[in-house]
Amino acid sequence: MDETADAIKRVIQSGAGAVVTKSIGREPREGYPNPTVVELPHGILNAMGLPNPGVEAYVEEMKELTNVDVPVIGSVFSDSEKGFSFLAKKMELYGADAVELNLSCPHAHGYGFEVGSQPDLVENIVKTVKETVKIPVFAKLSSNVTSIVEIGKAAEEGGADGVVAINSVKALKIDVDLKKPILYNKIGGYSGRGIKPIGVRCVYELAKEISIPIIGAGGVEKGEDAVEYILAGASAVEIGAGVYYRGLTVFKKVCKEITEWMKRNGYNAVDEFKGVALR
């Protein structure tokens, strides 16, 4: 729900406190043929293939978002330092409040995770982008690595203003009737309910080792899911698959449920319980 300006506005009206755009690249990409998304018993599996109209065309969408009330975070993907900084600069010009570097898409060949699993490359990409733009830079990390902490530290070294963890988890569903992988791209990214314990683990591990803010993602659907991420050290959370499970009202509902939990537990501000589970 972040492809177009209109869609993003609808998400904002639905109560989101900030929005992240679809990941944008230099050239238009159609993404993979369908099936690109299926529901599994315990989550959602997708291999969209980073469809996007290309950064030049995306200016049209960004222009319409300049007057919205919440921060708009421009997500970008590339295969090189230069590519990332070019795109980040564009996003800054277009009025993005921050930029999120997609170093973690699990199914796009040559992008995302394939770039984001190499600490040196991550550090250099973040550094180059930081030298190019003034807006905050977030690195979105993958759990599909031997050590997410190593990658998180590389991002911090590079000067990132924060990290986002996690993107979807590399996974596969084979249909036993067709006897083939169900997605056109075969391998996809697993999000939603089933991956929450993995996302929370990643945030917890990162929070122990890095000091820049962490944004949690993966299976947030209810207020208590968000609370779990915050207790693990996250400063905020992103919601993806939750939109499917609870509809667009998921944003308002989650906020309400967090507030209720805070009341029950005697907290007035998120900072009061952020990272409490780390002690």
Partner: protein, 262 residues
């Protein structure tokens, strides 16, 4: 669950040279105007409105236009496809007298709505448009059920010579309808909605946009300020469409880029 159900095609009917109907076993309730994502293994998964609503099976009717529909055109009874659905909202059939306006393959999704209206004893007038006589289908089916069917062809090879939207103008001049239901090329539907707005007629149109997830998460199919064709639609009412700046103006291709409708 939003996962393709693999089914064995049990009947294929040729409607015209380029249009076929595929029947598959499916015993759950489906509403006219809803659609399925139809998986053609190794090729694509594409949206198809339900065109037949039987107790034990459902059908969809499609025109071959590209890769996926051409491959589907080769399928025979016994072949496996996947169906994911029913998806979307469907038509909201109400009122004593209803006018259905369909162009091209639009009649595929309108036909079960007509049948529903007839089974509920509503007065039912249908206007079908096609390029020529050879491309028309479902005329007999609807007549036999008891609908008043009018036909328009671009070349005049049968029925009214001209656009179905012009035929519709004539029909609404001489009569009053509680509801107009339309499906077809977007320029045509745009005209139908405009006519209805002017005349103060209730109208519902079924939109087509590029569908990827079909479950409201990817944002690919958004129209009219963030409405998702796959879950909020595909059927929208005249009020929504009148305020919708992209209706009849542009779609988005698979990359999300605007493609203007000519």
């Amino acid at each position: 669950m939003m996962y393709p159900r693999v089914v064995r095609i049990h009947k294929v009917v040729e409607e015209t040279k380029d249009v076929k109907t595929v029947f598959f076993p499916f015993d759950e309730r489906v509403e006219p105007g809803q659609f399925f994502m139809v998986l053609i293994p190794d090729v694509d998964e594409i949206p198809m409105s339900v065109s037949y609503l039987l107790d034990e099976s459902k059908g969809f009717t499609f025109k071959r236009v590209g890769d996926a529909t051409n491959k589907l055109f080769e399928k025979k009874a016994g072949d496996l496809i996947g169906v994911r659905g029913p998806l979307g909202n469907g038509f909201n059939i109400h009122g004593e007298k209803i006018l259905f306006v369909a162009g091209g393959t639009g009649v595929a999704s309108v036909a079960p709505a007509v049948e529903k209206a007839l089974s509920q004893n509503r007065e039912t007038v249908v206007a079908l448009g096609a390029k020529n006589r050879e491309e028309l289908f479902f005329v007999e089916r609807l007549k036999e059920r008891g609908a008043e069917v009018h036909v328009a062809t671009d070349d005049g090879s049968i029925g009214y010579h001209g656009l179905v939207s012009d035929l519709m103008l004539e029909l609404v001049e001489g009569d009053s309808f509680d509801l107009v239901v339309t499906c077809g090329p977007e320029q045509m539907m745009k005209k139908v909605v405009e006519v209805c707005s002017k005349k103060g007629l209730d109208v519902q149109a079924s939109l087509e946009r590029h569908i990827k997830c079909g479950m409201g998460v990817c944002g690919q199919c958004c129209v009219c300020g963030g409405l998702r064709v796959c879950v909020d639609g595909p059927v929208f009412d005249g009020e929504t469409l009148s305020k919708c700046r992209d209706f009849g103006l542009f779609k988005r291709d698979a990359s999300g880029k605007k493609v203007y409708i000519h």
